[in-house]
Symmetry: C2
């Protein structure tokens, strides 16, 4: 599938031009300069039987080409594109790259044309990349069907870009810095083929070991996640997702008309699918260089080898920042080093072989260190000092490197004196980073990816629940015209899914209230039940810490108050609950993201939720292992649950189960857009939801 | 002062050698290669009347040189250094750079030698840079008295480095990337001259506009701050402070034997003195390039100009991340742009002049944008696309740049195609950054520095207090043998400085207790008062929410309990307090840092302080404006004090005053090492300290 986009035997350029600076001209030039081994057919409406463009015979249209064509590159003005697609159909071409702009990105009319184009191609069985793309490159097949002014060397990194301009920047960098690419795909408007299609294809591409992507928005969120999960189980995927900020989002939507969704959801989705999110171009390229050339570290124990104290200290700082461990060398290794290194060398980690270290000292140290079982990887630091032999040291490293399965990254710092050494390293599969932080960040990401590869199989746990009860309550509320549900009904829904809730008695009359109070024999809470009063405590509709003797006056007070705010038939009654004993207050909830669907949240609960913002978020359906991670991830509430000083720990298992049941609830009822329990009060043993609310999608589902 | 270190007329190299690869040889070579315009005297003990080193007449010792010598560079083995210093004295040389290693950094014996050296030089009136340094460079004076294998071009950035190795890396980078330096100073062991001396000197150095530094530790913390404050009022100071982490600190102390102090204290001290802290070499150099060539922005409103949507989006994201504003162009400017730019251009911010933009379009846009009063600075983004003319665009930018006082930074992205353009920009005072984030980070730091320059004069407020009362309590406690003071005494100390405290009655006998209880007529707290029980609540020594009828049994219970733990004569009695009404619980306190002295803290209080970690820290003495900032800076408690939803705001003024008074207390009593009030309960009006403790320095002061 998609084979002909990358390995075509023949390519037609529709809109090829003799005029320089025209895109059609540039694409043809790139094809030729790139050394495309197959046939090339320039198509120009004005061509006659003698026309040649850049020395190649041209044709007035696709149909008149007397050979079969695998791939068509279209660069004619947007209004002519549909007729070219018709020609493709007639000619039996099923793979088309539409370079032309002037579609969705320019407004409504363009969007109309684009959707027309899509329908047409679908009918004709044609797959389209574009419109509004920079083109496509397969460096191994010598296919450069793009108008990028660059020709990257072949390598094992595939690069997908939603921005043509950034594509140009990265291709230029790849060419300038010798970063080898397998394929480059400019995604553009994604009328047909999108990141999901190409990810799926790259999964099995033998020429690609690492996938790098720049995205502004994803169309098919759930498909993306399931495909990405499969891909990342085989090879690393590094993504830049731009449009984090409001300003960035606005710019993105005017750029490629992307549906952005909440940026936070991308973090969650990338995490769930094992994608490594990069925050800048440099970070992305740094990562790609590491992943594409070095083995994944089997642990987090890093050894720092340096010829300068300062560099070692900065690297040690970075290790802590990125939660890596400084490896402890075995005594035996230290002995070996002590024997052969100068006396003043430091054999702790960082291992400092001193400013006058030449390559031989690096060799001695590396050979000893790499055989030490306590070391998972090495960062070799070098500052160009007067005695340093940078090039020789690089040569030593590349000689030793193939003998080990451990991760080796280098950090030769400086510029002029290390230039050649960095080239030697790079050409032999050792990525060099200019700053210790960068090398360590890459190491950490590689380690984390290794953990991802080793992760256990995820199993979604299902509990026996009362689906019909929830169905009934939802229908009842919808029938009454309410899409927001709070109070007693929300608690009932939670309860139907086995989430523990506070005892709640809905009463209509005073004598009922008194009867309940007597039965409960406890300090009480009383709340107005009305679907139109959503924030009850803000409107005074909640009375707390009542004694049984307070019930009568409280009942009347609440009823009076309710009558002032809403019509009588909108009051369902008054809820009476026992006051729950103190515990840790947590929040559990689910929200909706337009791209990725349901997101589940856990955090510190109570009335100051918005202030503390101690929340972690995962994708639904939730699995037991993600649930544990979710709780662990919070900064404050995870520690509070463990118990502070003399406190006993709270019942985290109860919280985990509640989260899993909540996940099951929204999976069973996709019409629930949002649901929240706050607080869920957790004790040493057990816990209860005290208040809850939910919101349903408008329309049926 | 220190003039002769940088602008000597004559230099002697003591330890000059004919052997290549010897440091003495390399320093001489650097002096010659650097084109030093003055006289050079190689000194070598074995020299006779015919000896020449690198063609220059050599002498067996300093004394025999028949000319005056301004600066001596010493590279002989450490044990011979003292006698060289003697010679310097005899010869009247008062400026000496000691390159030689083998002092404090190698252990006790070396430290001994170093202190001997220091005393000797002090007696002889000699100032020493070193030992264990890379050397010193004055690029304008063509003085390269270092063994760094680099020769940086002259410029306006001075660079101080505690690490010789990192010095080499930066010098190599400076040379390779054309970053101009005024001076380079390797600080080494800082036996005599240190960062404080050089900062003071660089303040008035006309050749230096920006100071860049790498430090591992500071010796004279308070001096550093006061000098740094003066310097940063004139020119920006950018510092890397390595050794943030435990691992890094360990490595640092074994490296130059630095006294590290708490890393957090460096953040506080740098902030207080207007120093910009850089987290990596790259960041430091990025900042230095921006500050050294562009004007300080007068506001935070940034205009992004781009030829690619993706780059614009990433830049907009970065603006939000670094709290900059996207400038809103005036309608008039937009009209001007609309007239002259292609129809599909985006005139919002980012201004997108499209992928086929050539230099003329950049020119049109820049000219309009730079005259817009809503714009404080511009980031010019360029991705090398097929139609781009990178070099021409660079030329346009450097043509327009001198006509404006606004900050212009560029972000030409890529490598090969932009290389020449980046050089054109750099050579004309426009720093280019490879990633939008980097440019924006620099812009933000420059903006922040502009705010620093505009800051109001700081005035320390002093309150009338009872110093003698505190003196008395401290002496009493010290006399009893206790350096830790809690409970009633700590509250008394706070009270003596006008910090509101809860009413507290210390009673010895039951009848006194009953009397107090009757008078208070409130819910009560009772606490054992003993200087040996510091964490009372952990040991059950605190009883809360007592009714007056509980007093008798509580009194007996506490007394029994106390007797079990401590001897009778160690119990001062029992404190009785009224329970205070609920409020926001904050913490105020002061801790001690070995480098910078007293640090004052404010944060969320209560029993979960360690969990929330919502604390901000400043230097003592605190000023009113720093106090406000300190409260603002906290993430949670600042918002809680403002009141959430229907809540009224709490009395922040009360907190501010308490902090200022606490600052005054520790300034008046430097023997207080630590003091903490937690909680200070704050209400809508007023507040009280409920519990406090302090710790005194061992020995008198």
């Amino acid at each position: 599938m998609l084979e002909k986009f990358f390995k075509p035997d023949s390519v037609a350029v529709v809109g090829a031009s003799i005029k320089e600076m025209k895109l059609g001209n540039q694409i043809l030039e790139n094809l030729l300069k790139g050394g495309f081994p197959g046939r090339i057919f320039p198509i120009n409406a004005k061509a006659d039987s003698t026309t040649r463009i850049m020395g190649i015979k041209a044709y007035p249209n696709l149909v008149e080409v007397p050979h079969s064509i695998d791939l068509a590159i279209v660069v004619v003005p947007s209004r002519w594109v549909p007729s070219v697609i018709q020609d493709c159909g007639a000619k039996g071409i099923d793979s088309v790259v539409i370079i032309s702009a002037g579609f969705k990105e320019v407004g409504e009319q363009g969007a109309e044309l684009e959707s027309q184009l899509f329908k047409l191609s679908r009918n004709l069985g044609i797959r389209i990349l574009g419109p509004n793309v920079l083109g496509i490159i397969d460096a191994h097949h010598h296919l450069n069907a793009s108008f990028a002014p660059a020709n990257p060397p072949p390598g094992n990194i595939a690069f997908l870009s939603q921005s043509g301009a950034l594509g140009c920047a990265i291709l230029d960098k790849a060419e300038g810095e010798g970063i080898g690419l397998s394929k480059f795909i400019s995604l553009g408007n994604k009328a047909d083929l999108d990141e999901v299609d190409f990810l799926a294809m790259l999964k099995d591409d033998a020429e690609t070991d690492v996938i790098l992507g720049y995205l502004e928005g994803i169309g098919r969120g759930r498909d993306f996640i399931s495909v990405a999960k499969e891909v990342t189980s085989r090879k690393p995927v590094i993504m830049i997702k731009a449009g984090r900020s409001e300003g960035g989002k606005r710019a993105a939507s005017s750029h490629t008309g992307s549906l952005a969704g909440q940026d936070e959801a991308y973090d969650v989705a990338f995490e769930a699918s094992g994608i490594i999110r990069a925050n800048s171009l440099r970070e992305a390229i740094d990562l790609a260089r590491g992943f594409s050339s070095q083995p994944i570290p089997q642990g987090r124990r890093v050894l720092l080898l340096t010829n300068g104290g300062g560099a070692g200290i900065m690297a040690a700082d970075a290790c802590e920042q990125f939660s890596l461990e400084l490896a402890n060398l075995e005594d035996q290794t230290k002995e070996r080093l002590k024997e052969k290194l100068p006396q003043d060398s430091s054999l702790a980690n960082p291992v400092d072989i001193l400013g006058d270290a030449k390559s031989d000292r690096y060799e001695i140290a590396l050979e000893a260190i790499l055989t030490d079982p306590n070391v998972d990887g090495v960062i070799v630091l070098l500052t160009p000092q007067s005695g340093s032999d940078e090039d020789e040291t690089a040569s030593i490293i590349i000689k030793i490197c193939p003998e080990t399965k451990k991760t080796i990254l280098t950090c030769f710092m400086g510029q002029k004196k290390i230039k050649r050494a960095v080239e030697i390293l790079r050409n032999n599969g050792i990525p060099n980073y200019g700053d210790p932080e960068d090398a360590i960040r890459v190491f950490e990401a590689m380690f984390r990816y290794g953990e991802w590869l080793k992760r256990p199989v995820e199993v979604v746990k299902t509990f026996p629940v009362s689906k019909s009860r929830v169905d009934h309550i939802l229908n009842e509320s919808i029938k009454e015209g309410y899409l927001e549900i709070g109070g007693e009904r929300a608690l009932q829904i939670m309860k139907a899914y086995g989430i523990p809730t506070v005892e709640n008695y809905l009463v209509k009359e005073l004598d009922e209230a008194l009867e309940v109070a007597e039965r409960l024999n406890s300090s009480l809470a009383m709340k107005i039940e009305s679907p139109v009063i959503s924030h009850k405590s803000d409107t005074g509709g909640v009375l707390l810490n009542l004694k049984p003797t307070d019930v009568e006056t409280s009942f009347c007070k609440l009823r009076e108050m309710a009558k002032k705010i809403v019509e009588d038939n909108r009051i369902r009654g008054i809820s009476i609950q026992p006051m729950v004993k103190e515990g840790k207050e947590v929040l559990i909830g689910v929200s909706w993201d337009d791209v990725f669907g349901h997101l589940i949240k856990f955090g510190l609960g109570g009335k100051y939720v918005e202030i503390y913002r101690d929340v972690s978020t995962k994708l639904v359906p939730l699995t037991p292992s993600w649930t544990k991670e979710m709780i662990e991830e919070t900064k404050v509430i995870s520690k509070l649950l463990k118990g502070v000083r003399e406190e006993p720990p709270s019942d985290a298992m109860e919280v985990e189960e509640a989260l899993l049941r909540l996940s099951q609830l929204v999976c069973d009822f996709p019409r629930i857009l949002e649901i929240e329990a706050n607080p869920l009060v957790v004790w040493e043993k057990g816990g209860v939801v005290v208040d809850a609310r939910l919101r349903l999608r408008n329309g049926c589902s």
